[in-house]
C-alpha cells in the first residue's frame, strides 16, 4: 500500500473536559467513516481498559486511521489521535497533540466551559494547532448552544460563529464535523526527502512482539526492515513490523511523511520508547531531534504493602508487569517496621496512583495497604548536599536540614459564582496564593491559585467538591519548587515510631494533623495489658498525645460444660485477630488501624 500524499492527510485530536462526550463522539466518527461496523461498535470503542470504561476517562490513548470521502470528491486519510483525558498525563497529552495539525474541541452545551477544557485548549494552542470548537449534547433538553458559544468566545477567545452543534449520542452534526476537519485543519507539511524524523506519542508492551510504538512521521519515510534509532535513549532496533490501526491493526510496508502508524522491533521494554522521543535512521540519523521531549518523572509516591506478607512475590510480579507497560510508573523495594516488606511506588499524579492501585487489586487480586501519598521534596542539607525525598520516613533529622522545598502547582478552578466564597476559603486554608479571578459568565468564575502540591494531594479534591456541592472542576500543572516551613510529623506508640504513618506537613498544620492522626489511631488500638501512649512528634518534641488505658483483666469467670464450644470459638476468633496484628515495639496494632488511618479523609 503506497503512502498517502500529505495534501490528503489530516491529523487531529479530540479534546474535552471529562464527561463532555469525547469518547462517544470518537465512536460515532469511527462508525460514520465505516471503520467500525455496528457489531463491533461496543460503546466507547476508544476506551479499552475496564477502568477507563467505568470511570469514563481515557488513560492510554487509542488511535485510528480512517478513510473519509469529502464533498469535494477526494478521499482523505484522517488520523484520529486520542489523548489521555487527565491532568496527570499532561505531558503525554502535549505529545499526542504535537502529532496533530488540528484539534476538535468538544464542549458540552449543557455544562459549558470547564477547567480541563481550558487547560487542553492552552496545550493545543501551544502546539500551534487549528482548533475546531463543537457544541456537544444538543439532543439534551438542557442544551444551551448559544450560551455555550458565547462562553467559549468570552473565556477562551475562540471564534465560535461556525461552531457545529452535534450529538455524539445521536450522530447529529458528526458528518459536518468531518467536513470541517478536511476544510479547516491544514495538511502536514513534512519534508518527504529529509532525514527520517518520527515522533513517539504512545507505546505499550505486547508480550509477543515487545514494545509497540505509535509514531507520527514528520520528515522522510519509515520502512519495514529499517534500522532505526531512538535519539533520547540512543538505542537501535530493526523494524520488524509496521502498521496502522484502522481501527484494527493493518500491516503496512511503509509510513510516509505526515502519516501515523505503529512499529515493532523486538523492543524489550517501554522504557526504551519514551513518549516525545524522536525516531530516526540509525545509518543516517538526524542531528535535529523534534522539540518538546521531556523525561517524565513520577510526582507522587506511596508505599504499597501486601496485607498478607505471603503475597509479596505476587505483588512484585504484578508491579513488574505494570511497569513494563507504563514508563511513567516506578517502583523499588521498601520496608516498614509496621507493614513489613513492600514497594515504594512513583506515579505521575493521584489519578495515576489510583489507577495502578485499582489494577493491582482487581487484575492481580492483591490485598494491599497503601500509605498516604507524598510529593517529592527537595532538601538542602546543612552540608550543602541536595537530596530528593520521596518518603517522609527518609527525611533527615531537623538539625541536618537547611531548607526543604516543596512542589507548587498552578491550579485553575471553575466554579459557579455562588460557591466562590467557599472555594476561596479552601484555597487559603490550603496555603494558596491567589493569581487571578475571572468571570467566565455571570454565573461561572475561574479562580487561579498557586498551591503547594502536598495540600492538593491530601484532600483537596474532596473538599472542593463539598465546598461547591460538586459543581467545581479543577485542573493543575506543576510550576516549580518553593521553600516551605515544613516539618515531619512522626507517630509514636509507646515511644516506637510507626514509620508508615510519618507525614511531611507545614509547621502550622502539624498540630492539627498530628492530633487527628493520634485520635484516629486511638480508636483502633485495642487495650493492652499496659497503658499505651499514642503520640505525634516533630523530632523529639511531642505535639499531641492520646492514651489507651490498660486493660486490667481478660479472663472468663465461668467455663463449664455448656460454655466450652462458645468460649472456644471466641478465643479462636481472638487468635485470628492476633494473626493480623503488627507488633510495634511491645504494642500490638491491628492492621485495620493502618487501613483506617491511611483512609483519613
Amino acid at each position: 500500500m503506497p503512502t498517502t500524499p500529505q495534501s490528503l492527510i489530516r491529523n487531529f485530536s479530540i479534546i474535552a473536559h471529562i464527561d463532555h462526550g469525547k469518547s462517544t463522539l470518537a465512536d460515532r466518527i469511527l462508525e460514520i467513516t465505516g471503520a467500525v461496523t455496528d457489531r463491533e461498535a461496543r460503546a466507547q470503542f476508544m476506551d479499552k481498559m475496564d477502568i477507563e470504561r467505568e470511570r469514563g476517562i481515557t488513560i492510554k490513548a487509542q488511535n485510528a486511521r480512517l478513510k473519509f470521502t469529502a464533498k469535494d470528491g477526494l478521499t482523505y486519510q484522517l488520523n484520529l489521535i486520542d489523548t489521555p483525558g487527565h491532568v496527570d498525563f499532561n505531558y503525554e497529552v502535549s505529545r499526542s497533540l504535537s502529532a496533530c495539525e488540528g484539534a476538535v474541541l468538544v464542549v458540552d452545551s449543557t455544562q459549558g466551559v470547564e477547567a480541563q477544557t481550558l487547560a487542553n485548549v492552552y496545550l493545543a494552542l501551544e502546539q500551534g494547532l487549528e482548533i475546531l470548537p463543537v457544541l456537544n449534547k444538543v439532543d439534551l433538553p438542557s442544551s444551551d448552544v448559544e450560551g455555550t458559544r458565547e462562553q467559549i468566545e468570552q473565556v477562551i477567545g475562540l471564534d465560535c460563529s461556525e461552531a457545529i452543534g452535534c450529538s455524539g449520542k445521536t450522530g447529529v452534526g458528526v458528518p459536518e464535523i468531518l467536513e470541517e476537519i478536511v476544510k479547516k485543519i491544514p495538511p502536514p507539511k513534512g519534508n518527504p526527502d529529509g532525514l527520517l524524523r518520527a515522533l513517539i506519542f504512545d507505546s505499550w508492551y505486547d508480550s509477543y512482539r515487545g514494545a509497540i510504538v505509535m509514531v507520527r512521521v514528520m520528515d522522510g519515510t519509515l520502512k519495514r526492515g529499517d534500522k532505526i534509532r531512538f535519539l533520547a535513549t540512543m538505542t537501535d532496533y530493526e523494524v520488524t513490523e509496521l502498521g496502522s490501526f484502522q481501527p484494527f491493526a493493518v500491516a503496512l510496508d511503509e509510513i510516509g511523511p505526515g502519516e501515523v502508524g505503529f512499529l515493532a522491533g523486538n523492543i524489550r521494554s517501554v522504557h526504551d520508547t519514551k513518549v516525545g522521543d524522536t525516531v530516526t535512521h540509525a545509518a543516517k540519523p538526524t542531528s535535529d531531534p523534534l522539540p518538546g521531549f521531556k523525561d517524565v518523572k513520577p510526582m507522587v509516591f506511596s508505599g504499597v504493602f501486601p496485607t498478607d506478607s505471603a503475597q509479596y512475590p505476587d505483588l512484585r510480579d504484578a508491579l513488574e508487569k505494570l511497569h513494563m507497560n507504563d514508563a511513567a510508573f516506578s517502583f523499588e523495594p521498601d520496608s516498614s517496621e509496621a507493614l513489613g516488606f513492600g514497594y515504594r511506588c512513583g506515579f505521575l499524579g493521584l489519578l495515576h496512583m489510583e489507577i495502578i492501585q485499582e489494577r493491582l487489586e482487581r487484575e492481580f487480586n492483591l490485598d494491599l495497604i497503601i500509605t498516604a501519598p507524598s510529593v517529592v521534596y527537595k532538601v538542602t542539607k546543612k552540608s550543602g548536599e541536595e537530596i530528593r525525598v520521596e518518603n517522609p520516613a527518609k527525611l533527615p533529622e531537623p538539625q541536618f536540614i537547611e531548607t526543604i522545598e516543596e512542589p507548587i502547582v498552578k491550579m485553575a478552578i471553575h466554579v459557579p459564582s455562588d460557591h466562590v466564597g467557599a472555594v476561596l476559603a479552601l484555597c487559603q486554608e490550603k496555603r494558596g496564593v491567589q493569581i487571578s479571578m475571572q468571570y467566565a459568565s455571570t454565573e461561572r468564575v475561574i479562580i487561579t491559585y498557586e498551591l503547594p502540591f502536598n495540600e492538593v494531594l491530601f484532600d483537596f479534591h474532596d473538599k472542593l467538591k463539598s465546598a461547591s456541592r460538586g459543581y467545581a472542576s479543577m485542573d493543575y500543572e506543576l510550576i516549580g519548587y518553593r521553600v516551605g516551613d515544613l516539618v515531619k510529623v512522626d507517630m509514636l506508640v509507646n515511644g516506637d515510631p510507626l514509620d508508615a504513618l510519618s507525614i511531611i506537613v507545614h509547621r502550622e498544620k502539624a498540630h492539627t494533623r498530628g492530633r487527628s492522626l493520634a485520635e484516629k489511631l486511638k480508636e483502633f488500638v485495642p487495650r493492652q495489658q499496659y497503658e499505651v501512649a499514642i503520640q505525634a512528634a516533630i523530632g523529639s518534641k511531642i505535639i499531641s498525645r492520646e492514651t489507651v488505658r490498660a486493660m486490667r483483666k481478660d479472663v472468663t469467670a465461668k467455663c463449664y460444660g455448656g460454655d466450652i464450644s462458645r468460649k472456644r470459638k471466641l478465643l479462636e476468633k481472638q487468635k485470628e485477630g492476633k494473626k493480623r496484628m503488627k507488633q510495634v515495639g511491645s504494642v500490638e496494632i491491628p492492621q485495620a488501624a493502618f487501613l483506617a488511618i491511611l483512609k483519613v479523609d
Binding site: 469467670a557 464450644s565 478465643l571 481472638q574
Partner: protein, 423 residues
C-alpha cells in the same frame, strides 16, 4: 489434688466420665443469668413428668454412649453426677432421686461416696429439711447460690433472698450433715470495693464452708443485663477494681488454707468439685434434660476418616418440646432428627486440643500438653506454639515444667489472652 486424668487411649481401666442433669425452672429469672431457665411458680412444675422425660433420655443416651465408647475401644465409669439449672433444689427430692437411680441403673457408676452427686440450690428453696431429704436420695454435695451477703447487691442481682436467708440456707445445709457444701459468690459489682469482696469471702469461710466459687460478674448477651448494657443503661464496675477484688479474695482465702485450684474456685484440701475438674480436664459428660449440653467421644483416636473423634450436642431448650421429644426417643437414632438434640458439633483432635488448653490453663496445676497430644492423636508442639510458649514464659505469663503448662497466679487475670495465643 487428684491425679492426672487417664488417657483416651484404649485401656482395660475404665476412664472417668460425668453425667449432667439440667432442671430448667426457677422461681424468678435473674437478670445476669444466661442458662436455660424459665420463671415458673412452684405449683406449676410437673415434677413427675419432667423426671420421666429425663429418665427416658438417660436410657437412650446410655445405650448410645456405651455403643460409642465400645467403638472407641474403652469403657467409662461415671464418677460424678451434677444437677444444675435452673433451680434443681425446687425439684421434689423423690423425683430427683428417681433420676439418680436411673443414672446408676443405666451407666457403670462409682460406688458410694466415690460417686459425687451435687445439687445446685437456691437459698429460697433450701433449708435443713430439704438438705436432709436430698441426702436421703443419695445426694452428697450441695452448691448454694448465695451470690452476695449484702442487701443492695442482692437487689442489683435480682435475687429473691436477703443476706439472712443466705446465711440460714448455708447453715441448714451444713447442719444437715449431707457431706460437702459449696457456695457461689459474685464479685465485681458496681460500687463494690475490693475490700468488700474480700470480707464477704471471709464471712462465708467463717460460716464453715470448705468450698467457694467466686465469680466476677459477667454480662452475657441475651440476658436482661446484656440488653441494658448494650443500651448503655447498666452501671458497671471499673475493671481495675474487679481485678483487685479477684486478688483480694485470693489473698483472703489462701491465707485461710484454701487452695485457689481454678480461676474462680477455692477448696480446702480434698474438697474440690470433681465434676467441674472433669470439665477442665476435658473429660466426657453425658448431658440430659432440657437445654443440656453433652460431650462424648464417638470414635477411636486416629480411626475416624474425617478426624472427628467426639461430638458436643445440645438438647431442645423449650421444656414442652423436650418432654415431648424424650417420650418418643430411640436409642439408635440419637442426634439425627431425634427432636431431642437441636445441635451437634463434631470435634476433631485439634479442636479438642484447643479446648484442653483453654480449660486446662484455668487450673492451678495447668495442663499436660504432651499427655493431651497423645490422648487426642495430634502433635501439640507446633513450632508456632513452642515459640509462643517461650514468649509468654519470658513475660511471666506462662510457666512450663516438662510437658505441663500453667499460668502463674498473678497472670490468671490474662488467662483468655494466654489461651488464645496458644490456640
Amino acid at each position: 489434688m487428684t491425679a492426672a486424668p487417664p488417657g483416651f487411649h484404649a485401656s482395660n481401666e475404665p476412664r472417668p466420665a460425668s453425667v449432667y442433669v439440667h432442671f430448667p425452672y426457677c422461681l424468678t429469672k435473674c437478670p445476669y443469668c444466661d442458662f436455660v431457665s424459665y420463671k415458673t411458680p412452684r405449683e406449676a412444675i410437673d415434677h413427675v413428668g419432667y423426671a420421666d422425660a429425663v429418665i427416658a433420655e438417660l436410657r437412650a443416651r446410655a445405650s448410645y454412649a456405651e455403643a460409642a465408647w465400645s467403638a472407641a475401644g474403652s469403657r467409662r465409669r461415671i464418677e460424678s453426677v451434677f444437677f444444675g439449672g435452673g433451680t434443681p433444689s425446687l425439684w421434689e427430692p423423690k423425683e430427683l432421686g428417681r433420676v439418680l437411680a436411673a443414672v446408676r441403673e443405666h451407666f457403670t457408676c462409682a460406688e458410694g461416696d466415690a460417686l459425687e452427686v451435687t445439687v445446685e440450690c437456691n437459698p429460697t428453696s433450701l433449708d435443713e429439711r430439704r438438705a436432709r431429704d436430698l441426702d436421703a436420695q443419695g445426694v452428697n454435695r450441695l452448691s448454694v447460690g448465695t451470690q452476695s451477703l449484702r442487701q443492695e447487691q442482692l437487689q442489683y442481682l435480682g435475687r429473691l433472698h436477703d443476706p439472712a436467708g443466705a446465711q440460714e440456707a448455708v447453715r441448714g445445709a451444713l447442719a444437715s450433715g449431707i457431706g460437702r457444701v459449696s457456695t457461689d459468690l459474685i464479685f465485681g459489682l458496681p460500687g463494690q470495693s475490693p475490700e468488700d469482696a474480700r470480707s464477704q469471702a471471709g464471712e462465708l469461710a467463717d460460716a464453715g464452708l470448705r468450698h467457694l466459687s467466686c465469680y466476677q460478674l459477667t454480662i452475657e448477651p441475651g440476658t436482661q443485663f446484656g440488653e441494658l448494657s448494650r443500651r448503655g443503661r447498666l452501671p458497671l464496675a471499673d475493671d481495675g477494681l474487679v481485678a483487685e477484688g479477684f486478688l483480694a479474695i485470693d489473698e483472703e482465702l489462701t491465707s485461710r488454707g484454701f487452695t485457689h485450684y481454678e480461676i474462680s474456685n477455692y477448696a480446702m484440701p480434698g474438697e474440690e468439685s470433681r465434676h467441674n475438674l472433669a470439665y477442665w480436664r476435658g473429660l466426657e459428660y453425658v448431658g440430659v434434660g432440657c437445654g443440656a449440653y453433652g460431650y462424648v467421644q464417638t470414635a477411636r483416636v486416629g480411626a475416624a476418616a474425617d478426624g472427628g473423634i467426639g461430638v458436643r450436642y445440645r438438647n431442645a431448650i423449650d421444656p414442652k418440646a423436650y418432654v415431648a421429644a424424650a417420650a418418643g426417643v430411640r436409642d439408635d437414632a440419637l442426634g439425627e432428627g431425634d427432636g431431642l438434640s437441636i445441635s451437634s458439633e463434631p470435634l476433631d483432635g485439634e479442636t479438642l486440643l484447643r479446648e484442653r488448653i483453654m480449660l486446662g490453663l484455668r487450673l492451678a496445676n495447668g495442663v499436660d500438653l504432651g499427655a493431651c497430644g497423645r490422648d487426642l492423636g495430634v502433635d501439640p508442639w507446633t513450632p508456632e506454639r513452642v515459640r509462643t510458649i517461650e514468649q509468654l514464659s519470658s513475660k511471666g505469663r506462662l510457666a512450663r515444667v516438662g510437658d505441663t503448662l500453667r499460668i502463674p497466679r498473678p497472670a490468671w487475670l490474662w488467662a483468655d489472652d494466654t489461651a488464645a495465643r496458644l490456640f
